[in-house]
């Protein structure tokens, strides 16, 4: 056996390296840093169909991430999806008639919520609802409609 001081140091280095590696995995190799619970205020949007939108999905405006999807629930009276967005506190000047749409990044990528500013002078307050929303495009529906139209056109 080595000198016991040397062992202590070696074990210390080992434990530090192990914890350091786990720390790197948490910070650099995962999204933990991305949602380090930045403070934000909630906004609600109602959609007819949210497609494949998931909690933690980004909320963007002009392509820049300004928040994330906090909660998704279903209203069984209006049969709509209620999506709670969390928009970071520094972006608190969204006009009241801002519209929310669900888009897909790339052809097959993840879905995200995109906000489009309106022209109202008043700003959205926490817990407000978006007045104008646009549902996700579901590929099967689009193809179905397209085929339907094509078939209609063919009989004329």
């Amino acid at each position: 056996m080595f000198h016991s001081k040397a062992i202590e140091i070696a074990v210390g280095v080992f434990v530090a390296a192990g914890l350091g590696a786990l720390f790197i995995l948490a910070i650099k190799v995962s999204n933990l840093s991305a949602f380090s619970d930045e403070a934000g205020y909630p906004l609600q949007a109602r959609f007819d169909n949210i497609g494949g939108l998931k909690v933690q999905a980004p909320v963007t405006m002009a392509g820049v991430r300004i928040g994330r999807v906090d909660k998704i629930s279903f209203d069984d009276e209006t049969f709509e999806a209620v999506v709670t967005l969390k928009v970071y506190d520094q972006y608190d000047q969204l006009p009241k008639d801002t519209s929310a749409s669900i888009f897909t990044s790339g052809l097959l990528g993840e879905q995200y919520v995109s906000l489009e500013a309106g022209g109202d002078m008043d700003n959205l307050q926490p817990n407000d609802q978006f007045m104008i929303t646009q549902s996700a495009l579901v590929l099967e529906e689009m193809i179905g409609q397209f085929l339907f139209k094509a078939a209609e056109g063919g009989t004329e």
């Binding site: 056996m1 080595f2 016991s4 062992i7 202590e8 070696a10 074990v11 280095v13 080992f14 434990v15 390296a17 192990g18 914890l19 350091g20 590696a21 786990l22 790197i24 995995l25 948490a26 650099k28 190799v29 995962s30 999204n31 933990l32 840093s33 991305a34 933690q56």
Partner: protein
């Protein structure tokens, strides 16, 4: 009739051994409380189990990551999505390869030495000698080694995964020209801390428990001859690898969501 009794005998032997293994684990866990005041014992075992395994784990992790980078690039470049290389390397390392490879390497590097050490102690009657002096070998010898293995494996798995990701980074970004920023940002977008990283850590904790248990039990339960020790050492590697691979499937199935 003869083969029936043969079957019965091997069945009985199997369950007897299983029971002994569980009792062994129970007493080790029970005896672990006395370890609280004797950190030095644990420290020494952490050295021989953890620190000495670091080299093989680091080198293995680096090369596994580099190979993943090369192979992944070849496939992804056909689809023009070589930026996803980081995601592929990181996910496969963090979820599967990190915990599993580390546990298998750990069984080969540290598990065998634990088995051989304990087995030889038993063969040379050091364990009985301790009992004669009213020293419980389960507390004095086994428990520190058990906890050392249990603590070391998750740390080693973390090192393996982290080094592997950097290995993939060196090959992907340094050698093959994947974009630096895209490599990391894709990883951070797609690898979830709770679903991926934390599940990998949970896996390695379970594997650490199993690997330490099997290695020590095989040593403790060895037939006290030189042949017995050699067999026990082999069994440690085989059983740990099988148990880890089987458990990995079960854990992945449970975590798959």
């Amino acid at each position: 009739m003869e083969w029936l009794s043969q079957l019965g005998r091997s069945g009985l032997r199997f369950f007897e051994r299983l029971g002994r293994g569980n009792l062994f684990l129970f007493y080790v866990l029970l005896g672990s409380f006395s370890l609280l005041g004797r950190g030095r014992l644990l420290l020494q075992q952490m050295y021989s189990v953890g620190v000495l395994s670091m080299l093989i784990i680091t080198v293995a992790g680096l090369f596994v990551g580099m190979v993943l980078g090369l192979q992944g690039y070849n496939t992804l470049v056909d689809f023009g999505s070589e930026e996803s290389l980081g995601v592929m390397v990181a996910l496969s390392l963090v979820q599967e390869l990190g915990p599993v490879m580390t546990a298998v390497l750990f069984a080969a590097r540290a598990g065998t030495s634990l088995t051989a050490e304990i087995g030889l102690m038993k063969t040379t009657e050091q364990l009985s000698g301790m009992e004669m002096m009213a020293v419980d070998p389960l507390r004095r010898v086994i428990a520190p080694r058990f906890w050392a293995g249990f603590i070391s494996l998750p740390l080693l798995a973390g090192i393996f995964s982290a080094v592997g990701v950097f290995g993939g980074y060196f090959v992907g970004v340094g050698l093959l020209g994947v974009d630096d920023g895209a490599f990391w940002s894709q990883i951070q977008n797609r690898v979830d801390f709770y679903d991926d990283v934390l599940n990998g850590i949970i896996k390695s904790i379970v594997f650490g428990f199993v690997a330490a248990w099997i290695a020590l039990f095989e040593g403790y339960d060895t037939v006290p001859t030189s042949e017995g020790v050699s067999r026990a050492t082999t069994r440690t590697v085989v059983h740990t690898s099988l148990a880890v691979l089987g458990l990995d499937f079960v854990l992945t199935a449970l975590m798959f969501d």
